[in-house]
């Protein structure tokens, strides 16, 4: 059993799971605290459209060698800033509508670009489904960089972000730069989604980033323990998903998603008790 961990594909997948669990524990928790969880799904689909657009530009020679993740990041950030603007100016309904419309627009664009890139479409589909076992060293380095920055900034500004999430009016009254911290969380979420895209796919990135934090929020007694529980739940989902996928020969991200959802259901039962 242990020798399978000598396999570089599996080893990279395991390291990626640990890094993604750290993202889930930090940014995942704050997206749940701030009520931005639906936005994560929106960013993932915008990133998908961006990746497909980058492949499209490459395919037609308009911008040769454009990396799909760069396109994903640009589109993800456009969505983030659009929603961020409405979250400053508008009501909750306006934000929901802004996310919903951007979501639909992004998915339509993703499908449009995929339909135009023919034989390269498989590259874009890979980002929709994701595969932990196909991560390259470059993907892993990107994950390490983004995870380190994210964890560092969330720990540094933990109290400011928590106060804004808990009571935004008092945060304004205390003179905190609320917009700065709001955009910081949104930008870190976008980068996190983009680097997780290849590993878990646009559909399941929501499952691994948000659901462990949502489950942790159901049972934890303090905000900091939400982050620790979220990390543990994401780790259990990812590692167990990976091991079972090797035994059953199915997609690891799908199994990780199912395990994360089961953990969430158990947390709901514990919460009721």
């Amino acid at each position: 059993m242990l020798e399978i961990f000598a396999n570089p594909f599996i080893l990279r997948a395991l390291v990626a799971v640990v890094l993604m669990a750290m993202i889930s524990g930090t940014i995942g928790s704050f997206t749940v605290f701030r009520g931005y969880s639906f936005l994560i799904a929106g960013i993932a689909h915008a990133a998908m459209a961006g990746a497909a657009f980058a492949i499209f530009l490459d395919y037609y020679g308009i911008l040769p060698n454009m990396h799909p993740l760069f396109g994903a990041l640009i589109f993800g950030l456009i969505m983030t800033f659009t929603v961020g603007y409405f979250s400053q100016k508008g009501s909750h309904e306006t934000i929901d509508i802004a996310i919903g419309i951007s979501f639909a627009m992004a998915m339509s664009m993703a499908i449009l670009f995929i339909s135009m890139i023919r034989e390269y479409a498989v590259q874009a589909w890979g980002l929709i489904m994701g595969d932990l076992l196909l991560l390259t060293m470059f993907d892993l380095i990107l994950l390490v960089i983004i995870t380190s920055i994210t964890v560092f900034l969330v720990i540094l500004f933990y109290r400011e972000m928590l106060l804004i999430a808990f009571d935004i009016e008092s945060a304004y009254a205390l003179g905190l730069r609320v917009s700065f911290y709001n955009y910081l969380i949104l930008i870190l979420s976008t980068f996190s989604v983009v680097v997780m895209l290849k590993g878990v796919g646009a559909i399941l990135v929501y499952v691994l980033l948000v659901i462990p934090a949502a489950a942790a929020n159901n049972i934890a007694k303090t905000a900091s323990s939400v982050m620790i529980f979220a990390l543990i739940f994401a780790l259990i989902s990812g590692v167990l998903g990976l091991i079972l996928s090797l035994l059953l020969d199915v997609a690891p991200s799908a199994l990780a998603g199912i395990i994360a959802t089961l953990i969430y259901l158990v947390s709901l039962v514990i919460k009721r008790d």
Partner: protein, 262 residues
């Protein structure tokens, strides 16, 4: 810095793109005292509190807190004011312990990565005791507290920053009558210690004995002064647009306004 006047509002006008929230509001609150702002929904009560903190743009007039213009020196003003928001605005789905609610405000003011000292922790305990929050609630999640306890915790959080002026937005929403009196006792003690309070409420009756000044508001200042001067049938009819009955008991007027809370 003037210490005899806590808040001075002159010709205040606040307008949003589609409506005028406040127009020609004037008052001067002597320090230390307790003032109530009362008026129907949409009267501009919360807007007035936000204007006093310098958080919204005003079209006309001036606001001074202890003689300092709130828009010229926002940082100084924020250090003098403790704000208690409407409880419904607090995100209770986040698990935060009661004592952490108070500690968080203190540490945020001190800057990132500040480690709480033993003195900070002692201070938090003293303040939680001062607002008579039972010790068995300190480690409970904020969401598990009763309405009155939550309000006390939020007042404790405002007090930890040692303000000279407290602003409370609808502190009695969902709070039973005994707790309302307890909270007013706390505010009354603070007045003795030199802290003024402005609080927004829909019903002055249960707390009238503690109140020094009252502003009756409906976008314009209908009346300002001592409660028994402000609470006249004429003023209440102007503010609420309907006839309000008054019962005079001793030197105190009781307005039979019913429940106007949304």
């Amino acid at each position: 810095m003037s210490d005899s006047i806590a808040v001075e509002v002159r010709n205040l006008r606040v307008a949003y793109p589609d409506t005028i929230a406040l127009d020609n509001v004037n008052f001067e609150l002597p320090h230390p005292s307790i003032m109530v702002v009362m008026g129907p929904n949409g009267a501009g009560k919360t807007t007035l509190l936000k204007a006093i903190m310098g958080l919204i743009h005003i079209q006309n007039g001036s606001i001074k807190v202890f003689g300092i213009d709130v828009f010229e020196h926002p940082d100084k003003i924020r250090r003098m004011i403790g704000y208690v928001p409407q409880r419904e605005k607090v995100s209770e789905h986040i698990p935060v312990r009661t004592r952490d609610v108070v500690l968080l405000a203190k540490l945020v003011r001190s800057g990132p990565l500040t480690i709480p000292t033993r003195r900070d922790i002692e201070e938090i305990k003293e303040i939680l005791d001062a607002v008579s929050l039972p010790r068995d609630t300190w480690n409970k999640r904020f969401s598990e507290l009763s309405g009155g306890q939550k309000q006390k915790a939020l007042i404790a959080r405002a007090l930890v920053l040692k303000p000279k002026l407290l602003l409370l937005d609808e502190p009695f929403s969902g709070v039973d009558a005994p707790s309302q009196h307890e909270i007013m006792e706390i505010l009354s003690d603070l007045r003795k210690k030199g802290i003024s309070t402005i609080l927004v409420t829909h019903d002055i009756n249960p707390i009238i004995e503690y109140v020094d000044y009252m502003l009756l508001l409906n976008r314009k200042a209908i009346a300002y002064g001592r409660p028994n001067e402000v609470l006249t049938e004429e003023n209440l009819t102007k503010a609420y647009g309907m006839k309000i009955k008054l019962i005079v008991h001793g030197e105190v007027c009781y307005a039979i306004t019913g429940d106007y809370h949304a």
